[in-house]
């Protein structure tokens, strides 16, 4: 019991956001809600009049919405994938960052789907996808893999949340016993936590089962995540349109997705750290490690982008070249070169030196990467449609306020849901931090011993989630 109290005192800061609410929270919610309402108004306008209120036309049939769709699904790779890989690698520094990553995944997926709905001319008929679904269409592959991913990553978010829900249950129960739980909402929350905690008491047996379940999900979720963005890329690559019909689109999109996902994670962590004063939990070392990961992805992104464009340029097929020049020197050159600056020059120069790989440095790099990756998706979707194969057709595209409002509304609503999540659930996995404090030090030391020569070959010790 003493140990419990010690922990609770140490982790008081982790409970604070869920128990106390100040003015800044309401202000944030107010601003974000206003933006969300603007987006909803735009969507209602579009629903009422048709897609004519957008800037789309023939031949530029796809624009902001499809760009957002690819972008949001990409961001979703932050969480589950990064968290699963770190867990499986038993990276000890993961403990305080996995939760914030997993939440991004689950929430942002809804906005990927929302943008597809916004893009449909007949959203009222969306269920035809189930009723008359045709599996030879890559869109159906998308529906399948995104639905699987949403399910798997929700479970993957929920499982490690169970012990924390039990902690919250106990905490609120304690407050209630002390007569300090007066508001009806808090009492309601206590009941919800109790229900969601599934009677967790933290026995050895429960812990063993949970660990097994988490590691099974961590292994499962990786191929699912990879499949999701591969399939998203195939929406484009399966057509025979110039500069879409590319075999590297699958891995190219997956790499870009992880790239933008890590950037989103760094940004979310920096905000959480600042707002909830979690400097002790999200330390410079976390940002440094994620910064290195982001640096690796920056280089990978450059490699893929270079390979993709060089292949088109060297082959010099006229239809491909029209798209190529539109991107490199034509109408979309500003977007293209901003992308190069944001996705490579800024992050590379900041992250490649230890001196600038600070919290501020990684945050600046992440903002650049997020902007750059949105532009990347845009310069993949639009320039090809602007230059169809028949050389006599040309298109122009400039979005209207409706598309801008729906895009802004999606971003605002994502942030809003994220903020609300942090107020209802611990955004840093409390039990995992405790486990780290209590056991990981010894376990890691023993594990390292087994790597070293000379030691008797003993039974596998402390293989953590893998066991």
């Amino acid at each position: 019991m003493d140990r419990e109290r010690e922990h609770n005192e140490a982790d008081a800061k982790l409970f604070a956001p869920m128990l106390e609410t100040g003015r800044p929270f309401y202000l944030t919610v107010g601003v974000l809600s206003a933006l969300v309402l603007w987006g909803i108004y735009a969507w209602l306008t579009q629903y009422r009049w048709g897609l004519g209120v957008t800037g789309l036309n023939r031949p530029v049939y796809w624009g902001f919405y499809i760009t957002n769709f690819v972008f949001f699904i990409g961001i979703s790779h932050a969480g589950t994938l990064v968290s699963a890989i770190l867990r499986l690698c038993q990276a000890e520094w993961r403990r305080s960052i996995t939760r914030s990553a997993e939440v991004i995944t689950v929430l942002v997926l809804f906005f990927g789907v929302a943008n597809i709905l916004a893009d449909l001319g007949r959203p009222d008929r969306v269920l035809n996808i189930i009723k008359h679904g045709q599996f030879h269409s890559p869109l159906l592959w998308d529906v399948t893999s995104v639905a699987t991913y949403l399910t798997a990553s929700s479970i993957y978010l929920y499982l490690p949340l169970i012990p924390d829900l039990a902690l919250l249950r106990d905490k609120l129960q304690m407050l209630q016993n002390e007569g300090r739980l007066t508001s009806l909402f808090m009492r309601f929350r206590r009941r919800v936590y109790t229900w969601l905690a599934l009677g967790w008491t933290g026995t050895e047996r429960q812990q063993r089962r949970l660990n097994r379940a988490i590691s099974v999900m961590a292994v499962l979720v990786i191929p699912i995540a990879v499949s999701v963005h591969t399939v998203v890329s195939w929406v484009f690559a399966m057509t025979i349109q110039p500069m879409w019909h590319s075999t590297i689109f699958g891995p190219y999109f997956v790499a870009g997705a992880i790239f933008s996902g890590i950037a989103a994670l760094i940004l979310a962590m920096a905000v959480i750290r600042r707002v909830y004063h979690l400097e002790e939990y999200l330390k410079p070392v976390h940002f440094n490690h994620l910064g290195v990961l982001l640096l690796v992805m920056t280089l990978l992104w450059l490699y893929f982008t270079f390979a993709e464009h060089l292949t088109s340029y060297y082959g010099a097929e006229p239809a491909h070249m029209r798209v190529f020049w539109t991107k490199v020197t034509g109408r979309y050159a500003p977007a293209f070169w901003t992308m190069v600056v944001c996705c490579f020059i800024i992050p590379f120069s900041l992250l490649s030196r230890r001196r600038t790989r600070t919290i501020t440095g990684t945050v600046i790099a992440s903002v650049a990467v997020i902007i750059g990756m949105w532009l990347e998706r845009f310069t993949i979707v639009v320039p090809t449609l602007v230059n169809p194969r028949l050389p006599y057709e040309r298109g122009l595209y400039s979005p209207t306020w409706v598309e801008v409002a729906i895009t802004v509304g999606c971003f605002a609503m994502f942030i809003l849901l994220y903020v609300i999540f942090t107020k209802l659930f611990p955004i840093i996995s409390i039990w995992e931090v405790r486990e780290g404090r209590e056991r990981a030090l010894q376990e890691t030391a023993e594990r390292i011993k087994t790597y070293l020569p000379g030691e008797e070959e003993v039974e596998e010790v402390g293989v953590g989630v893998l066991s």
Partner: protein
């Protein structure tokens, strides 16, 4: 089963737009405002694309009338998630308007950009609304449409032939554009009947198909003397 095909003789085409207008009247194509047209939202199942070759003062303008190619291997039907566009038993690429969800994947996948989208609910001037073709359904907002080779005319021709207890003859079924061409530049018929006009013209040395190397097997065949592409400049 006949393989319906169209032959367009570019050397005879004057660019008069009669086929375009005939198509619009026949198929209840909605009107769009000049502002919408400037945005690229005109719906025109049959479109005459002008091609300017050469540079001033040696300029030559040519025209290509461009209906749906009715590919035998259509890239658009493969990608439709709800089977709202498909190759029907006549070999024609058909649209099911009440099922289309308006995702515009087929429009993006078509290399000939022949598919059109209803950005708004369709509109006609009052006079036009009074004389819509009863054989062709109008399309609601938010769905994709395109040239059907006047499929409704085929149905009528088949019914008539059945009533007269005979086989379909050449000339029984002809799309509105072909029927209206004053230059006699358009032909229509069964490509699998070696004696038909279209099959004979398709064997001509002047015959070619648009983007033939993509393997889409279009059933619209063009006739032109010599190289027609002309010098291509980069965008």
């Amino acid at each position: 089963m006949p393989r319906w095909a169209m032959v367009i003789d570019l050397d005879k085409c004057t660019g008069c737009q009669a086929c375009v207008i005939a198509c619009k009247a026949e198929n209840n194509i909605p009107f769009v405002s000049p502002e919408q047209a400037a945005m690229g939202r005109t719906i025109s199942w049959m479109e005459i694309i002008p091609i300017v070759e050469g540079e001033y003062p040696r300029v030559r303008v040519r025209y290509i009338p461009r209906p749906c190619m009715q590919c035998d291997n259509p890239p658009c039907t493969k990608v439709c998630p709800v089977y709202a566009t498909f190759k029907n038993e006549e070999g024609l690429v058909a649209q099911i308007y009440p099922r289309c969800i308006g995702c515009r994947y087929c429009t993006a996948a078509c290399p000939y950009t022949v598919k059109y989208f209803n950005w708004y609910a369709p509109q006609w001037p009052a006079e036009m609304r009074a004389c819509l073709n009863p054989d062709v359904s109008t399309r609601p907002k938010g769905v994709v449409e395109k040239c059907t080779f006047c499929h409704h005319r085929l149905q009528k021709a088949k019914e008539k032939a059945r009533a007269e207890q005979r086989e379909l003859r050449e000339g029984d079924y002809v799309p509105a554009c072909v029927q209206s061409c004053p230059a006699g530049a358009m032909f229509f018929g069964d490509l699998d009947d070696p004696m038909s006009t279209v099959a004979q013209l398709a064997r001509s040395a002047r015959a070619f198909r648009l983007l033939d190397d993509l393997g889409t097997e279009p059933k619209v065949i063009y006739l032109s003397e010599g190289e027609w592409y002309g010098p291509r400049k980069r965008a």
